[in-house]
Symmetry: C2
Subunit: 214 residues, 2 copies
C-alpha cells in the first residue's frame, strides 16, 4: 500500500506519517522508484503501536524511538531487551541528591524493599529508573508534610506486585520473543491509563458506597 492508503487505514495524516518516518519511528517503505514507496501490514501495525504510545500512553516521540530501538534489537536476550525497553520509558525528573527529603525517601524506600523481601529489586536501587521515580515521589509527599507508616506504602506495593504478576502472566501467553517484548512494553505503557482509569472509577464507586452521592 502507498502512503495515502496507510494514512487512510490508520487515521493518521500523511504529513504526520512523514514526520514519524523522518524521526525513525517507522521504518522506511520499500522504495519502488524515486516518488513511490510501498508499505505493508507490518508498517500499519507499527504505526498503530506508535500512535497508541504517543496518544494514549503520552510517551514523547524521542522516547518512543528509544523504546522501539530496544524492541527491534534482537541481538540481546529477552530479559535484557525487555528491561532496556521498559527503562527507556519516561520517568519523573532526576532528584537533587543533596536534598534532605530525598535522602530520607531513599532510606524509606530501602526499608520498604526489605520489608517486602524484594531482594532482586534491592540489587537495582542504584540503577533502576523506577526506583529513582519512587524516591522522588515519596520525597515530594514528605516535603508537603504528609506522614504515613511504611506499612501503607507496603500495602500499595503488594497490590502492585499482584498487578505485575498479571502483567507477566499475560506476556507469557505470547510465544515469540519479539511479541513478548512488544507485549511487555504495551502492557506497561497502555495499561497505565487503564489502571489509572480503573482506580479513579473504583474511588468513585467506593466513595459513593461510603458516603452516598449527597
Amino acid at each position: 500500500m502507498r502512503l495515502a492508503e496507510l494514512s487512510r487505514r490508520s487515521g493518521v495524516a500523511t504529513a504526520t506519517i512523514k514526520y514519524y518516518l523522518r524521526e525513525g519511528l517507522l521504518p522506511p517503505g520499500r522504495q519502488i522508484n524515486t516518488t513511490t514507496a510501498e508499505y505493508d501490514e507490518e508498517h500499519l501495525r507499527r504505526l498503530r503501536l506508535v500512535r497508541a504510545m504517543i496518544q494514549v500512553g503520552r510517551v514523547p516521540v524521542a522516547t518512543v524511538r528509544e523504546v522501539l530501538r530496544h524492541v527491534d534489537d534482537d541481538s540481546l536476550g529477552l530479559t535484557v531487551r525487555l528491561g532496556a525497553a521498559l527503562w527507556a520509558l519516561p520517568q519523573v525528573p532526576e532528584p537533587e541528591e543533596d536534598d534532605a527529603f530525598v535522602r530520607a525517601a531513599h532510606r524509606e524506600a530501602e526499608e520498604l524493599l526489605d520489608l517486602l523481601g524484594w531482594s532482586n529489586a534491592k540489587l537495582l536501587t542504584t540503577i533502576s529508573p523506577a526506583y529513582r521515580s519512587l524516591v522522588v515521589a515519596v520525597a515530594a509527599f514528605r516535603r508537603l508534610g504528609y506522614d504515613w507508616e511504611t506499612e501503607l506504602l507496603a500495602s500499595y506495593a503488594r497490590l502492585m506486585h499482584e498487578t505485575a504478576k498479571l502483567d507477566l502472566d499475560f506476556v507469557e501467553t505470547h510465544p515469540s520473543e519479539a511479541e513478548k517484548v512488544e507485549t511487555a512494553v504495551l502492557g506497561t505503557v497502555l495499561t497505565e491509563p487503564i489502571l489509572r482509569a480503573l482506580r479513579r472509577l473504583a474511588q468513585e464507586e467506593e466513595s459513593a458506597r461510603r458516603y452516598g452521592f449527597e
Copy 2:
C-alpha cells in the same frame, strides 16, 4: 516573607513564582505598598503543592488552576468538591464516537462494571472522565489486535478497588474538609507516580524471580 524568601525556601525561581501568580495558581500576597507584598506559610505550602502537581504529577498548569479552584471552593459539599477536583485532572483525548473499536470497548466496559457489581460507577458512565479514559485505552489495545478475557480486566479492577480503599482510608485520617479534598487530590496525583514506580519495580522483581537476570 517577601517573594525572594518564598523563592529561596521553596527552591522555585522568582520569575516562575510570578508566572504562577499571574496564572492564578497562587493567591496574591498581602500588598504592603506598590512595590512590596508579604507572603506567609500558607503561600509556601500552596507553592509546594503546585510544584509537586506540575513536576511529579505532570499536571498541566491550566489543569492545576482548575483543580485548585475546586479545592478552594467551600460552597459545595465534600463529595461534590472532591469529585469535581478529581474530574478536572488530565485524561486521555476524547474518543471518536463513530469508531467500531470504541463502541466495542464501551460494551466491554459496561460488562466489566456489571461483573464487578460496581453499580454506583455504572450510573456515571455517561459523564465520568475516568470511564471515558478506560474506553479509549481499551479500544487502543483492541485496535492493536490484542485479545483478553474480561476476567483479566476484572482482576486488575479488583486490585484497583483495593487501592481505592487504601486511598479513602488515608483521606479519612484527615479531619477537616479542606484537608480532605487536598489530600484526595494529592493522593491521586502524587500516588500515581508512586504506583507506577512500584509496579515497574515489582515487574523487575517478579521477572528476576521467574527468569533470573541471565
